[in-house]
Symmetry: C2
Subunit: 343 residues, 2 copies
DNA sequence: TTGAAAGCGCTAACAT
DNA sequence: ATGTTAGCGCTTTCAA
């Protein structure tokens, strides 16, 4: 492999000149620049990442913490891991990082201290943590890191770290407002699996808080139905809440994987949407549209949030910007799956 | 941050001794080892990844190429990207890489030459490429790389690279054998979206080849139904094939995201499984079990394949092993969704 | 506008 | 069993 010295010799300049041509950190005469660039492409020169990291104290690598817990005893991802949503974030993060000049290192350890290796060994310049819990054990560690850390999610105490996420609390308020405005007085959240609640995932707690807050303000009763995605699990959990005299007249479904099953269950009961029950989905448009009946939905702009996380990390690295929390406001797309409750 | 010299001074030894304690590349007296280890933990020493890479010509990083193409004009992943399957591979790769002492660098560029940056700049020690096409433009580049590359998938010409994947061709044969044995003479593959066929993804071509091969041997007619996951798309494509006099009496569904819609469509027609039509799904057990009716299925052991890819990369790095293609045999789990065709 | 030279922190010969 | 030392390839001060 060609080194910077090879290039320098080939172009008849000093190695430092090559470095400066590459970094643009000082002005170079047009003639020199041309010769150096020619040498670079003739030799197929690519700077050695490690050498560069050593000399500049910059790796141009961003670590992405994505815990991927497996179901014990199997090699399947735990069911509460919503891979669709996860990948939507990743698809926002990785290309944006490239544009900003960074590679993305994937860290899937479930160990709270996993990040330490990264900054202590100068492996990454910044860290983005996903799947944040309300009391996330990683935050302590990240707050002590010598590199900036950005959380995608909103813990109870960010310890001074920057956060960016969808405003799930606002989404909850919006959903209840929408339904209460149509006359509903009993609403249920069909939520993620119980394990998600047990792990105290930040997003679901905020969603519940938003729902509960407006429900209480509007004199609406709120039931919460955590459920696994499996069809029988969905049927069972829903039946507990729906098979009562004053059953909920509207559902907010915040569990993408369970959505088809939820609609199946409603269909098995011969309940029509929205005549017999109103439904709002928290899901991307493509999912909300492709169900048996198109569903009014609240969309999580995961892609944009991921890109924002990268930008916040870059800003932190350039010394600009103080720690902040940025929450993206919710919007509801009406697809006529909500109406007044049945008489 | 503490350096190796700090540790050496603290322990009263030479820096090289610390290095050797860490690498285990030469024997160290118990006393010295103890003192060095104490110094390391007292100072919280972590070797500098860049310095190590520079001196040893090893980065302990594996690059993972996962193209994440977006739907043009949107920020959504292209629908033919099956994130579930993708993440199942990643969940197998990342932890295995850690165990083997490697970090995973995520490369999502759709550029065929994207990998070049990685090895030319000594950014990664090895490359694992996913989503392989039958004629994959990346393979040329990877075959020229100075670092080993492993393909997850099986192109027409691997250019001498090692490959590992599920034996989709075998899966196709197995499915037809199973159905033909129960008397079916007309079978349809409900496959991934047309774009997947257009991109000539390796897995789907091999599946079709296996199906066609045994179909022809057993005198079975094979229809292929590429379809988007959207319910209306599924309904439309299926109707083209099912609304004919001698309609297929069995479906092989190789499109996880479309599975619920397929079953919806069958139900809308009041076709019972397996009395009116037999169904085999290519899907993980959790998916096959949770449908409206449990489905007999062929499982893709993505997790294990991912882990194997890592092991093959490590073997290649240690000089052991020659390039090889490893295909994991298919198996069918019977969940009673197949029977003899209707009379 | 350019060059020379001193490290960055580590590994791995080469000594002893 | 341990120490000494010469790089690995780059960035960046200091000089000119």
């Amino acid at each position: 492999m060609a080194t910077i010295d090879d290039v320098a010799r080939h172009a008849g300049v000093a190695a430092s000149t090559v470095s400066y041509v590459l970094s643009g950190k000082r002005s170079i005469s047009a003639a020199t620049r041309t010769r150096v660039e020619a040498a670079i492409s003739e030799l197929g020169y690519h700077p050695h990442a490690g050498a560069r990291a050593l000399a500049s104290a910059r790796t141009q690598v961003m670590a992405l913490m994505v815990p991927l817990p497996l179901t014990p005893g199997t090699s399947m991802l735990r069911p509460e891991v919503d891979v669709n949503v996860l990948m939507q974030f990743v698809a926002g993060i990785a290309p944006r990082a490239r544009v900003q000049g960074y590679d993305v290192l994937l860290v899937t350890d479930d160990d709270p201290a996993a990040g330490q290796r990264l900054w202590a060994g100068s492996t990454a310049d910044a860290i983005i943590a996903m799947s944040v819990q309300t009391d996330d054990p990683r935050i302590d560690h990240l707050a002590r890191a010598k590199v900036p850390a950005i959380l995608i999610g909103l813990p109870a105490d960010p310890h001074g770290l920057s956060c960016v996420d969808f405003d799930f609390e606002d989404a909850g308020r919006l959903a209840v407002r929408h339904l209460a405005g149509r006359g509903h007085r009993r609403i249920a959240l069909v939520g993620p699996p119980p394990t998600t609640f047990e792990r105290r995932m930040s997003f679901v707690e905020r969603m519940v808080r938003g729902l509960a807050q407006t429900a209480s303000a509007c004199d609406v009763r709120l039931d919460v139905i955590p459920t696994a995605a499996r069809r029988d699990a969905v049927a069972a959990s829903m039946s507990e809440v729906l098979d009562v005299a004053d059953r909920p007249t509207a559902l907010v479904v915040h569990h993408e994987a369970a959505l088809p099953s939820v609609l199946d269950v409603l269909r098995d009961r011969n309940w029509r949407i929205p005549e017999d029950i109103s439904v709002i989905a928290v899901a991307p448009p493509s999912i909300a549209e492709q169900q048996a009946a198109p569903l009014s939905s609240i969309e999580v702009p995961a892609h944009a949030i991921g890109a924002t996380a990268v930008d916040m990390a870059v800003a932190a690295l350039s010394g600009a910007g103080v720690p902040e929390t940025r929450l993206v406001r919710a919007g509801l797309t009406d697809r006529a799956s909500t109406a007044a409750p049945p008489a």
